[in-house]
């Protein structure tokens, strides 16, 4: 690539020359302004709901009902946040969500990588059948009712472990990691073997540390998935309040604050529970506050994720 650039003017130079002489002067300006306008709209449409939610969450409840809160709170208050953490329900749900996210991510990453390592060994006798068994799971699912009965028969109903056990390994992630392990030089593993390391030791000491970049990406996806899921709490543990997760609490609140027309209700003073149901707190503002609490962890890890999923784009741009 570099040689090419020195001999002839690169493709970039070609572009600029052509464009200024090209199909008339007006067209590129029109296109660029249309494109810019479009991107600005996209950014506004994407960001506005967040900013609005944050503004509502910091605004005084009854004042919000009067309408007109757009980008900034009119009557500043922390009352909404105080109310959701005062009852303990939301705080417990927050802890359950954190626990399930951390435990599932660690277990998922460790087990999936271990499996991927064994299935990357060409000499392994059961490589083919085990790979097929896992890959097939990407294409079918037994369905809701049979799975429910399985969970019931395993006595996992109303247990914390129902959040962890059913989703410990993903075939899709296994394939991604296996592909990555394939790029590790064989000689490295060979030399560990000559030094007398068994397969488990090679996996723990050599492969696992070398997979860090791909594991970071996958860990983040697994964590986001675990943090965001609510359906398991809804069908498997709904009768145990102390196992409720943050997303499920938000879901309950969402459905209780929608009237039969599907519009948020605006009556006064229905708080999280009777104690905190002072006139200042309304379902709408409580909902906004919980939404913010539920999305903060994601917004916190977002900059780190960014680094990994933009890599693909950078790899492509090296070519130019």
């Amino acid at each position: 690539m570099m040689d090419n650039r020195q001999i002839s003017p690169g493709p970039k130079a070609g572009y600029t020359v052509k464009r200024s002489l090209g199909t008339g002067r007006l067209e590129p300006i029109l296109f660029t302004s249309f494109n810019t306008l479009f991107m600005v709209c996209l950014v506004v449409v994407t960001l506005y709901p967040f900013i609005n939610t944050i503004a509502v969450s910091f605004n005084e409840g009854n004042d919000t009902i009067r309408g007109g809160i757009y980008l900034w709170p009119r009557e500043w208050t922390f009352q909404n946040y105080r109310a959701i953490f005062a009852t303990g329900t939301i705080f417990d749900a927050f802890l359950v969500s954190v626990a399930r996210t951390v435990i599932s991510t660690i277990l998922n990453i460790f087990l999936t990588t271990m499996l991927a390592y064994t299935l990357s060994r060409r000499e392994y006798v059961f490589r083919q059948p085990i790979t097929v068994i896992f890959v097939l799971t990407m294409y079918f699912s037994a369905g809701l009712i049979p799975n429910y009965f399985l969970i019931k028969d395993l006595h996992l109903l109303n247990s914390f472990w129902v959040y962890i056990f059913p989703s410990m390994i993903s075939a899709f992630n296994m394939i991604v990691i296996r592909t990555y392990i394939g790029t590790i030089p064989e000689s490295l593993l060979e030399s560990a073997k000559i030094d007398g390391a068994g397969d488990f030791r090679i996996f723990m000491r050599v492969v696992f540390p070398l997979c860090k970049p791909v594991l970071a990406t996958i860990a983040l996806f697994v964590a986001v998935g675990a943090w965001n899921s609510w359906f398991d709490a809804f069908i498997y543990t709904s009768s145990r309040q102390n196992l409720s997760t943050l997303q499920y609490e938000l879901m309950k609140l969402l459905s209780s604050t929608m009237n039969s027309n599907g519009n948020p209700t605006v009556q006064n003073g229905v708080g999280m529970d009777q104690n905190s149901a002072r006139a200042m707190v309304t379902p709408l503002s409580i909902r906004a506050a919980i939404t913010v609490v539920a999305s903060v962890p994601i917004l916190l890890v977002y900059p780190f994720m960014q680094k990994y999923f933009v890599v693909g784009l950078n790899v492509g741009s090296v070519k130019e």
């Binding site: 493709p11 709901p49 064994t118 809701l144 399985l150 394939i175 999923f309 492509g316 070519k319 130019e320």
Partner: protein, 325 residues
């Protein structure tokens, strides 16, 4: 990014693997590999337990299942449940909704992502391109609970931003009750999907666009192609393979039009337009205890999905395009 990786591994000629010679499995080999076996066989048993054993539950669809009875005592009814499904107006409606929303999501999802990728590609300043991308990915990481909350708030008649903007633009005279009319529901679901996923879906297309040989653009320019001609005849053909692969993968998921959005946004007034197969299964199965009928609905969905996937794969093979399996 991980999707690209997967495509690389899955798109492989199936015949290549068959030709490999198999070593006979001997005790000695197994003894030598005992660590590998300990590391993987328990996980295999785990996945068999959680993914394959429940398939046994499909027998419920051919029975008149009563939870109190043991397996031997169940009454077998053959295809009665399936016959009931296909004569039930409720199920036909649910099937229509699922298909309609699945197709809307599929087409809208593809078109918007490709168009956005093409437009993003035209931004020359790397910094702005990055910024727009970063912002557009954001909703992908939020749960549907949060997204449907945002959608409901934005569409509300009390102070909902959509109604306010439309009124200000004088497009409507009075606020519309978006979520209480069936005719809007499919569109709202489609738009919510686009809002949440469009940015994320462009990643793979942008990666594909970036890997197109710049010489092709140069050649096209020398031949006098303008911006649009280059998009049509260089960029789009360049990402055709990616589009086809993603198409095949999504066609298998048409019946998975969703559960979460419809369940969370739906309400009594739009139930005729909002209920999907998954909601049907949940309602009949867990809420009403009609396990047999619900399982039959679930089986129907799985079978159709796998069939669609194989069909799309076959058609694509016939046309000489990429394929998944």
């Amino acid at each position: 990014m991980d999707e690209t990786l997967e495509i690389d591994t899955v798109v492989r000629h199936p015949k290549k693997n068959r030709k490999k010679k198999k070593k006979p499995i001997t005790w000695r080999l197994i003894k030598n590999q005992n660590q590998l076996i300990w590391m993987s066989v328990p996980l295999m048993l785990y996945i068999i337990l959680f993914a394959y054993v429940p398939v046994w539950g499909w027998t419920m669809a051919f029975q008149n299942y009563k939870p109190a009875k043991s397996f031997g005592e169940q009454e077998w009814v053959g295809l009665k449940q399936f016959r009931f499904l296909f004569t039930d107006d409720n199920f036909i409606r649910v099937l229509r909704n699922t298909l309609a929303m699945g197709l809307i999501n599929l087409i809208l999802g593809f078109v918007t992502a490709i168009v956005l990728a093409l437009l993003l590609n035209e931004i020359k300043k790397v910094f702005w391109k990055r910024t727009v991308q970063t912002i557009s990915y954001l909703p992908h990481f939020l749960s549907w609970i949060i997204v449907t909350g945002i959608v409901a708030t934005s569409l509300s008649i009390n102070d909902g931003i959509v109604n306010i903007v439309l009124m200000k633009l004088h497009l409507i005279k009075e606020p519309i009750l978006w979520l209480s009319e069936g005719k809007y529901f499919w569109g709202i679901v489609g738009a919510s999907h686009v809002w949440k996923e469009v940015g994320w879906n462009t990643i793979i297309y942008l990666a594909a666009i970036a890997s197109i040989d710049p010489a092709l653009y140069e050649a096209a320019e020398i031949d006098g192609a303008n911006r649009y001609k280059k998009m049509m005849f260089v960029t789009l053909p360049g990402i055709k393979a990616t589009i086809v692969i993603l198409m095949i993968m999504s066609i298998g998921h048409v019946l998975e039009a969703g559960f979460e959005v419809q369940y969370l946004l739906g309400n009594g007034l739009v139930v005729d337009w909002a209920e999907t197969i998954d909601i049907f299964v949940l309602k009949y199965g867990l809420a009403q205890g009609n396990y047999s009928l619900a399982t039959a609905g679930g089986i129907f969905k799985t079978v159709v999905s796998v069939t669609l996937l194989l069909m799309a794969n076959g058609i694509s093979k016939r046309l000489g395009e990429e394929r998944l399996l």
